[in-house]
Amino acid sequence: MKMKTVLALAVGLTATLQVATAGDLTGTVTLKGTPPAEKEITPLKDDATCGKFHAAMPKTQFFVVAANGGLADTVVMLKGISGKSTGASAAPVVLDQKSCVYVPQIVAVQTGQTITVKNSDPVLHNVHSIPAVAGNEEKNLAQMPNGADLTLKFDKAENFLKFKCDVHPWMFAWVTVVDHPYFAVTDKEGKFTIKDVPAGKYTVTALHRKAAPLGVEQEVEVKADGAKADFTVEVK
């Protein structure tokens, strides 16, 4: 009993020390240049069932840019870290199919983390995950109208792993799988926060599926009180 107590105290102390020497990495991703106009998704509007869910003509969402240039849907992550995934115990990430569109369309998860795919539509979808990295399994699963949730996991790190619905071929989501918990996806203002990054020097990369598919990098030193890193990605 005494031994267990000592072990528990040791684990708790280690965790406390780690948090004490960890800080949040925050920043903003800004788009430089004028992105092309988004395209009208006419097949969606023309679809007898799905078209009813949209009063106005739906458009693609490749570049979601705030008034100040902040770029949403950018995945920011630490580079060069592997085998630190806590995905098995992390809360599931939800991908919903709503009004015949994936919501959200850009997400990031850890390796081994559960992705829960919902179908909130009264229409059939097929959930087709199409990885490009060996070790991540491709699946094509039917999901009936308002059907039971599906769960998927991926074991290998991969940027922008494609999810699509072949029944409604304009429906896409892009899942970035990371082998550690130090990543974030920018919000509508282009802002991000990566929590509890252990103090140290890192290469941080910002990936946008269109503007920076290979990533824009910078060196950052994270201290106990955190760090700030702003990125600019350019569209020509």
Partner: protein, 399 residues
């Protein structure tokens, strides 16, 4: 039936000409052209995997899929393609039986029986094989029925029974390829996704299959038999046999290039025409390709484009110019009664070039891209039949 028959040296009779056989061959050709059209729509709309299983559809027997599911989005196109293919399959078995006559019965009985037994064997393997078992035993049932009925029918003149057997096997291979394209979609061999590979072969073989049926239709026609039986064959004054052959081969090569582009599901590798990314010769450096991908918004062809895909489309454009020039030469060098068909061929190629340009200007609209596939098939068939006719006359002229 108004069939004209003759007796072979071995003593058996055979059909020289049957108007209803010819009409049935034309019906099979029309059904196959429709099948290529709906198959083209499946690829153009990128809905090939909208029914994830095969030969079942969402777990249902192919003919028992609920109508509400059938009418949902891309399921409509994919499932209709499957049902239509079944009709073509039955038509081809019947056509083969008609062409082969009583001499084909024994083989059909054996094949049909074997397929039924194999289907039942698959059913016994377990629930995972149920769909395949029903599919195979269903085909076997159709084949067996074809062998049972119409006991004393006369075969068609050679080489039609052999061509019928080719069609019989090809239609089954095509069905299997279509199914494997679905069930093996996720598998990768030597870096190539099997779904893409099987889809590509399925698309190209479909064109060859249509061509074979068109040859059968030509050889069963009154016109062909008349030319065959008359000693004084009209000389079409055609000195372009090799040009016809060369051009037809080029068209088939062009169809393979087109099918390769379509099955990569990368949308338009070059979004403008007649220029290419705003230039006569586009920049295909990694930086340039990255900039193209950054600003291209494809609704369905979501895969990023590569330099190789740009070169592929440039090759498609260059070959189009070669084909257009070659067909013009064929039309120019053809005299006599083949002059008009050769001009029709030239017209088809001009329409095809226009549809190619329109495909780009419409950002690969599914109906335009599919029309491009269909006119491509008609161009191939026209060229191949004209080639056969010119060589046929060439051979006769030497006799």
């Amino acid at each position: 039936m108004n069939d004209e028959k003759n007796t072979s040296a071995a003593g058996g009779d055979f059909i020289i000409h049957s108007p209803w056989l010819h009409r049935f061959a034309l019906l099979t050709v029309a059904a196959t052209l429709g099948l290529i059209g709906i198959g083209g729509l499946v690829t153009s709309k990128a809905v090939g995997m909208s029914v994830p299983d095969w030969p079942t559809s969402y777990g249902y027997h192919m003919f028992a899929l609920p109508i509400a599911t059938w009418l949902t989005g891309g399921v409509f196109h994919e499932h209709t393609h499957r049902l239509w293919a079944t009709i073509v399959g039955v038509l081809v078995v019947a056509l083969m039986r008609w062409l082969g006559g009583r001499t084909a019965r024994r083989a059909l009985l054996i094949i049909g029986g074997a397929e039924i037994l194999a289907g039942f064997a698959l059913l016994a393997l377990g629930p995972d094989w149920r769909g395949a078992g029903h599919f195979l035993s269903g085909i076997g049932g159709v084949v067996l029925l074809a062998g049972v009925v119409w006991v004393n029918s006369s075969p068609a003149a050679r080489p039609l029974p052999a061509l019928g057997w080719w069609a019989f096997w090809l239609v089954q291979v095509q069905g299997l390829l279509g199914g494997l394209r679905v069930v093996l979609d996720a598998h990768v061999v030597a870096g190539a996704k099997l779904g893409m590979v099987f889809g590509l072969i399925h698309g190209c073989l479909g064109q060859a299959f249509l061509l074979l049926l068109c040859v059968i239709a030509l050889l069963t026609s009154r016109w062909w038999q008349k030319q065959h039986s008359e000693s004084g064959i009209q000389n079409p004054e055609c000195s372009a046999q090799r040009w016809f052959l060369f051009t037809t081969v080029m068209i088939f090569l062009q169809l393979i290039l087109g099918a390769t582009m379509r099955h990569q599901h990368a949308g338009l590798a070059i979004p403008d025409f007649p220029l290419a990314h705003g230039k006569l010769w586009p920049d295909t450096s990694p930086a340039a390709v990255a900039s193209y991908n950054a600003v291209r918004f494809e609704l369905a062809g979501e895969n990023p484009i590569t330099a190789a895909q740009i070169w592929l489309q440039l090759a498609h454009r260059a070959l189009a110019v070669v084909i257009l020039s070659a067909v013009a030469v064929c039309a120019w060098r053809t005299r006599g009664f083949l002059r008009r068909p050769a001009l029709i061929w030239l017209g088809l190629i001009l329409v095809q070039a226009g549809l190619g340009a329109w495909t780009i200007w419409s950002n690969k609209a599914a109906d335009v891209a599919t029309a491009h596939v269909l006119v491509g098939a008609l161009s191939l068939v026209t060229g191949a039949l004209l080639t056969i006719i010119t060589f046929r006359f060439s051979g006769a002229a030497r006799q």
